[in-house]
């Protein structure tokens, strides 16, 4: 084949490969796009019901910089206002994400409106290398009141992860107090 024809042949084949892959990716994206979005929503709803109880429902969802808070909100991404079915506001839930050398953590921290105190935390993504120890030794005791959010986590078996969770929840607490001020 003359040189020129070879170039045309090559570019046609490569064009074919590129378009085949583009079509395949576009198709699979269509097939999975809403399922992924649904997964995300399910995770958030599961977190909210875990914190505020069965009949809690998200009434408003704002990104943190819409509140224009003065304090540092580097971990927080979105704030959910939660109401029960009689439409009375139960409290706020903060979606925070952070990572350390052991991996990424993303959680929902719930705060009660009437008592203005921390209620519960629910982990959404927990890629810590000692993930199960973090949940057993820190998150569960924190949720059922054995541990207080302000005292420093010590020999918890996953201390780095616990410190990261504590830092994120305290930041969310400051944000909640400033919003309700």
């Amino acid at each position: 084949m003359s040189n020129k024809k070879k170039y045309i042949m090559t570019s046609i084949t490569l064009g074919a490969i590129a378009s085949i892959s583009a079509v395949l990716i576009a198709l699979s994206n269509l097939a999975t796009k809403d399922k992924i979005a649904q997964n995300e929503i399910d995770r958030i709803n599961a977190g909210i019901t875990n914190i505020f109880g069965k009949n809690a429902v998200i009434s408003a969802q704002k990104s943190i910089n819409e509140y224009g808070l003065t304090i540092d909100t580097s971990y927080i991404s979105t704030v959910y206002t939660v109401k029960n079915n009689e439409n009375t506001e139960l409290g706020l839930a903060f979606r925070t994400t952070g990572s350390n050398s052991y991996g990424k953590i993303s959680l929902l921290a719930g705060f009660d409106k009437t008592t203005k105190t921390f209620m519960k935390v629910s982990l959404i993504i927990n890629e810590q290398s000692f993930a199960s120890t973090l949940v057993d030794n820190y998150v569960n005791p924190l949720n059922n009141g054995d541990l207080n959010i302000s005292d420093k986590p010590v020999n918890v078996g996953a201390t780095r992860g616990a410190e990261l969770v504590q830092k994120m929840v305290l930041q969310a607490q400051d944000a909640a107090l400033e919003i309700w001020k």
Partner: protein, 250 residues
Amino acid sequence: MEVKKMKREKGYTRKNFLKGIVIENPLFVSILGTCPALATTKSIEAAIGMGLLFTIVLICSNMLVSLLRKLIPEEIRTPAYIVIIATFVTIVKMFTNAFLSELYSTLGVFISLIVVNCIVLGRAEAYASKNNVFDSLIDALGMGLGYMLALITMAFFRELLGLGGFTFGKIFQFIPLTTLQIIPKGYEIKMFQTPAGAFIVFGLILAVLAFIKNRKAELKANIEKREKIRKAQEAKEAALKAAVNNGGNK
């Protein structure tokens, strides 16, 4: 192209499938794809998940590569294969994120790293670009299964020693959560769940395989030596007998 002309002797497909599992096991024999092997074998479920995703990508890319093997010009083989593999990895990543989101968050970056996994690119260049679609499929199945079995062996030791038992149902949520605790809770060696443990398990498995190989070589060498000695004795006896006969009839 000489592979095609060779008459396909019986059982070529069986041998082609089994070579991936034992003779040319991608992880323990040709030592490829070590990054995901060390990182995703914290639990048997994660290893099975990684093995499955890897096999799916390998099968799809092997088949498409061997489908287009006549069209892709020789000079730009590798770029075309990289694009094909990257496409299938993206598709697998999307479906895992949608339907097995727990597996997606456990494996994390290592699903995308299948693109640079040496086995996929190696099989595409070494085998799929020279054989027809069916053989490439069988080869991919063998290699994928071999790699998954290797991952499961690694994960077996790391999870048994590191966590003291096996948990199923955490990643594949459709299985009811079952925990098989063998070593009592406080007595497991947590180090095996850390990276250092992965290195040790991988090193020890390779050492055992090397030991078996050396032992087999030694046995074969002994047998040959004994053969040689027996032959030499027979030759001597024959020579002796011949000498006695000559003596007899002088």
